[in-house]
Subunit: 80 residues, 2 copies
Amino acid sequence: MKARVTVTLKNGILDPQGKAIEGALKSLGVDGIASVRQGKVFDIELAGADAAKAEAALKDAADKLLANTVIENYRVEVLG
Amino acid sequence: MKARVTVTLKNGILDPQGKAIEGALKSLGVDGIASVRQGKVFDIELAGADAAKAEAALKDAADKLLANTVIENYRVEVLG
């Protein structure tokens, strides 16, 4: 079973990495970019075919390791 | 205009970060995870409302900076 966990910064949390990318894009001549915020994406394969069980395992993984839930949100998508 | 650029490793490219996460999840007692591959996601705001122009700017940004196109694929989604 394939799944994707997307981790992004919560609103209001400063993203210095994103700011650096904005600046770099401007100096590379890429126009029209107002703001950039960087996050992480995890493409995960799970054993078994139980979507509910997979979703629970992925939430567990995100809470324990993949996301810092103090400053980050995460979204779990079980793709089947 | 909001858009998202998702950058992931090409198939066949070894992902040591993903391997490390797999091991850590096992030791944290998260079961059923067969494999993990980590990527990047960029949430980008663009000035203007021309979707085609936005898409072109995002491809330019990905080719020049956001992705290493030798080992990474990227996907541009203009969300409107």
